[in-house]
Symmetry: C2
Subunit: 503 residues, 2 copies
Amino acid sequence: MSPTSKTPRDAYRDLERRFERMNLVRDAATVLEWDAATFMPDGGADARADQLATLRVLRHELLTDAALEDLLGRAGDADLDAWERANLHEMRRERLHATAVPSSLVEARSQALSACEMRWRTARKDDDFAGLLSSFEEVLKLTREVAAAKSASLGVSPYDALLDEWEPGGRAADIDVVFASIEGFLPSLVERVLERQASRPSLAQPVGPFAPERQRALADRVMRALGFDFAHGRLDVSAHPFCIGVPDDVRITTRWDEADFANGLFGVIHETGHALYERGLPVRWRKQPVGQARGMSTHESQSLLFEMQASRSPEFVGWLAGVAREIFGGSGAAWSAEALLQRVQRVERSLIRIDADEVTYPLHVVLRYRLERAMIAGDLPLRDLPGAFADGMERLLGVRPPNHRDGSLQDIHWPSGTFGYFPTYTLGALTAAQLFAAAVQQAPAIPAGLAAGDARPLTAWLVEHVHALGASIAPGEIVSRATGEPLNPEVFRRHLEHRYLST
Amino acid sequence: MSPTSKTPRDAYRDLERRFERMNLVRDAATVLEWDAATFMPDGGADARADQLATLRVLRHELLTDAALEDLLGRAGDADLDAWERANLHEMRRERLHATAVPSSLVEARSQALSACEMRWRTARKDDDFAGLLSSFEEVLKLTREVAAAKSASLGVSPYDALLDEWEPGGRAADIDVVFASIEGFLPSLVERVLERQASRPSLAQPVGPFAPERQRALADRVMRALGFDFAHGRLDVSAHPFCIGVPDDVRITTRWDEADFANGLFGVIHETGHALYERGLPVRWRKQPVGQARGMSTHESQSLLFEMQASRSPEFVGWLAGVAREIFGGSGAAWSAEALLQRVQRVERSLIRIDADEVTYPLHVVLRYRLERAMIAGDLPLRDLPGAFADGMERLLGVRPPNHRDGSLQDIHWPSGTFGYFPTYTLGALTAAQLFAAAVQQAPAIPAGLAAGDARPLTAWLVEHVHALGASIAPGEIVSRATGEPLNPEVFRRHLEHRYLST
């Protein structure tokens, strides 16, 4: 049958077959990425880069195949159910992102990103912003060209076009409102939290070293308590923790800190949240675009819901302290639930975003959001970035980076061309707070479950209200349906005030 | 530039690009296969099968792309050097194998193989040949159709067409001569070896259990001695030992036998031989067909050269016994080099091919070769296979299988459609003996190196005379050039007589 004689239903079926293939190629690539970060010997890096590049190009060719244009048009006339229609919408979105940018620009940018990423590693180590500048400027220039091209295709602003890759359908106008609210209440809230914290006695903490095997045993126990299924996933060690895989085989990684077991453990809990989301995606749609996770803010909401909301709750910490005592053989006040709670609810003004606690973290993100919007708009020349970054840190967080390394050079995102990603961290944190509050209200068994080391009531609620929806509706719609109102920073504020100022 | 306006040189360059891509897709698939056999959780099996099938189909489509026909024709007029010409030859061979069989037959056979392999696992366990028969007959029927189709395309007999997949350019007529020689001298040689062995005192052996960590430490030490570079490879554990990967990242696996450390260790040495071959392939041609290993007999020659020739030599065993004593903390006569030599040179008439020693192994292979030729020729109905198998075992090896499990059901090869592979085991063993004899004669430093736990003189010789040739010449030509004569079973015979009857 020639493409033009296809019925709309046949066209839709053909699209499902094609996107299934694309998704399987991407899934295959994730195995190569996982291996590269865990078990691959160093000498295999170049060969692995070639293999991954080949899979990416093959997938890109499948996605930009000219035949898809006609199929996507015809399938629109088919009598599709809601999931199929959402699937078709996601297919079009993926296709738009892939075809909006001329391949010469994709290629030029890809080379610029590799060069800039490599240079960033050296520049950060040597605290040498000037040494990165020309390479960084090339990346920004080409990223702005990509944003302009996608803006034309998607019919949104250049920044929103970049944002759409990570936060499908996201709009800076909406984020502005949310972030303005955070910027309004959070600096003074941090102030009050720190004053209150300083006024209270500091409890003694367990003293390491904590053997990695024992930390691993604790992590296994906690992962099982949260519902991680080791018949469908693994925990390994890597330089940077991550979660990758497919619903039936989700791999997470961590690193062990022998001086403080909470670091590795809460990293594991964070990645477990990501893993449970992947595992809970709708079985029927696993190989289709609509069966994938709903963007980065929703993904981050799932990791933060476990890491920040559930696992730092007094209920769960009570159970966790007992398990930690058992596994490490600890006893005494330093191993009490109170001491552990104090440890995992510690707040401080810090320079490094990835080490920040849940209270101060959004301020790091608000700063980056303001700066990257200005960069994409052409309003912030890169030579002025370090100063703007330091000024912003001082204004929002009350600390000023003494160097580039702990200032504007600390994150790999911009040098690797990732703009429009930062806001998803905080949208995720707000979403987590709002979902958790609603879950506890709707399913009162949740806190009792957490107190007994049983997250099944919580996970069941999340599967129903988030995971099983896949990408069938917009991120904001997931929040509205699950909680009864749109994303509301006041819920996050109430969470912080309750946890850090009321007890 | 349209394909028809390409110069012959451009056509050749285009082919190199296309085959590089195909090889990278295949390399990517090997990472998925390795992971599936080592670290993948059981629940990931179905998803992995889908990913692998997708990569295989993509590669097949690249190889059967209609545009290749014209390119392969035009490139033949280019002014190519010897390596490029050999590369073009290998491209044509791969393409012929891929296009010779109609896709409907490929598909039907692929389904029959999956079904038969699964049924074989049950049938072997239950000793139920009758339960496998109809599924096995379907596989044989479709394999004979494939052989007929390839026979027409390659211009060789149906059996030789199957053989060509594993032994490029191999001919049953040549194998007949070699195997007739083996069948002539080996049964009586086995008889004499066993008589002599029985006449000598049996030395006490070290008694286990041998902890896997210690076995692993010994294996690491031996692998390093043989030249394995852990910056470019790994050793892991799997149910069935194998070697897989790319030259810069070669992965081998083993399993540990706590009762007898020599089992796991010599398995590791075998796979190390395969790994060194992959690692030594010509750097310039890694991504091209001519840069791949030269078929299975040559590959097996490299594993057996280390496992049987070098590592069972008195020189190496002397060094190895010292290292084993050190690592296991052993002492006394049971840990002497003499005892270890007796252990690794033990000969017996056994039922199971994969457990056989180097003296009896070729008789297992000769039997399978005779039987599979008869099956492909249509001269041996499968219902008669168990009887023919048992009769052959009795005639060649003097033992008769008491059941199907240890008889014709012991190997997965035929139920999984693999015909024409078995002879490569013994061609490899003969090649190993002939190469090792030549190497020692040409490089007298080899035995002294082995005695000191240093295989560099041996590996250097192999890289020069075998590894670095890739697939640029035929397997037989590698042997002739390296040793000064074609493959000669007399050299293997002399090796066995020297090792098992003269000392």
